[in-house]
Assembly symmetry: C2
């Protein structure tokens, strides 16, 4: 079962019933009527991270940032995180402390308490983080409107470049920003709050642009047109070395944890970096401009069950 | 690092700072000022459950019940659950559906939505559940007062008897209630709500009586006196077969998910089953009455990192 199929199954079977819930399963997080937003993310050794090139501090930093990114995607302000650890027997206390220092570094930056969780023994490392945030006006995947512009808050493909560079042992000095993006992604919490008033829909770029854009198209019942994708020099270099198309690469490269957002025209917003990469129109599906023609594309991104 | 040491470390390092949080790390759940209660529990194959004698339905039933039990312990009413699954590659869709039917069966009974979560591939089965509840008056571990009575809502040791009977292949027909208690525990959600007005402190019996009572003694800064422990006939039989003391067994046998509560005298409470098993006095530590003398005991219960 793919992640999308599974989400569909769960959603169909478990629609919102409880009177305290505003938005149930299906968005980046769920929303209660009192404005609380909740989201859960899991990370497994060998699937989401590789301890050969992740220090415990980096692991903590990265996983909590990825989790908080779901709150950013909904323009929510963090309140707290509950962290569950699956830890191999024999793990040293000092390792766990380093992991917590990573969590803590990010949490302090975004005024997020670590308020709970549990720790269990397990054959391998696993981390599940539930983040709790609040917002008076959650940004949803379903709010995009024809006429909206499509933006990202940064370059895409950097984190995946960094991951492969580390995994395959390419020259690190050529890819400093890519490596940083993989090990130390930054949730766009403050950017989301600053941009909120311009926006109609949002998601974070965790599954690759084609999949993330697809979610917006599906949930908003609109067409997403991708017109131009900014390509970071390191991504360009990496794709040249790999002899692959940078655009194809970016369409399926996940985990940059930038925002993919739609809304009215934004001339400038107090220093927030933004790329306008496309538009929203009536229709459905995701299209990309190639040789002056829009070509329909389908989700090719990360699916962790594949 | 033991679970208790770890909790102490995390607690010391991460005290409550966020202004929306009423109670942070350390109780059965954390509590927000708006009355929301959150708690997270994880379950790993081979540690918390054994798929040789757990059907997927039973696994779902048991894990969500165990999770909701933390809300019961705080006298909170369930709102929703976020469920994260670590699933071995190649797992059949039908298995996942059966698991969700188990979750669903319990959730329906307690008006709890399944509102989120995620699914990742992993080398083994793991389940992390975050439950969200609400209460105007959370029941805490720290509220016990000298003069209180100590109660449980049912027999203790049954679930652990059931677990060992299944694991070691003893005669199942001799232990029907034990097996039922292991596979289908019932969170005491409604009992907690009915009893709330009598109570000062509470915890659920997940780690063995000695450990659970220890938490109350520590957090409330009181002494817990255990005077008599009711012993279920199946537990008596099992301990006879094993040639062990039923009381010793119960002190470390966890996961019955009954309530261990303290409060004023309760003559009767609309059909809720209750055993009065002891008292709270000034002082500290947990004591048990043996041969007409109180003997100090220490936590011997389940510690999942041992």
């Amino acid at each position: 079962m793919s992640e999308l199929t599974m989400i569909k199954y769960i959603r169909k079977r478990f629609h919102k019933k409880h009177s305290d819930i505003l938005i149930g399963i299906g968005d980046d997080g769920m929303v209660l009527k009192n404005g609380m937003v909740l989201s859960t993310d899991s990370f497994a050794e060998g699937i989401h991270f590789d301890l050969r090139y992740f220090s415990m501090f980096e692991l903590g930093y990265r996983t909590i940032s990825a989790s908080l990114s779901d709150l950013a995607a909904m323009a929510a302000e963090p309140v707290c995180a509950l962290i569950s650890l699956y830890i191999p027997r024999g793990t040293k206390d000092s390792e766990i402390r380093k992991l917590y220092r990573g969590f803590s570094k990010v949490c302090k930056k975004f005024n997020c308490d670590i308020s709970g969780g549990d720790i269990i023994a397990s054959p391998f490392w696993g981390i599940t983080i539930t983040v709790v945030g609040k917002t008076n006006r959650p940004l949803l995947r379903s709010g995009a409107k024809p006429g909206d512009y499509l933006y990202t808050t940064g370059y895409l493909g950097l984190a995946e470049t960094g991951r492969i560079v580390l995994k395959e042992g390419h020259k690190k000095e050529l890819f400093p920003e890519s490596i940083k993006k993989h090990l130390y992604p930054e949730p766009r919490i403050y950017e989301a709050q600053k941009l909120r008033r311009y926006l109609n829909a949002g998601i974070d770029t965790s599954d690759g642009l084609s999949t993330d854009a697809f979610h917006i198209a599906e949930e908003s019942r609109v067409r997403v047109l991708i017109e131009k994708i900014p390509i970071h020099p390191e991504v360009k270099l990496f794709c040249k070395l790999k002899k692959i198309s940078p655009v194809e690469f970016i369409l399926s490269a996940g985990e940059d944890f930038e925002l993919l957002i739609t809304g009215r025209e934004i001339k400038e917003c107090s220093g927030v970096k933004l790329f306008q990469i496309g538009k929203i129109t009536e229709g459905k599906g995701v299209y990309i401009l190639t040789n002056n023609k829009f070509k329909r594309i389908y989700p090719t991104g990360y699916e962790h069950l594949r």
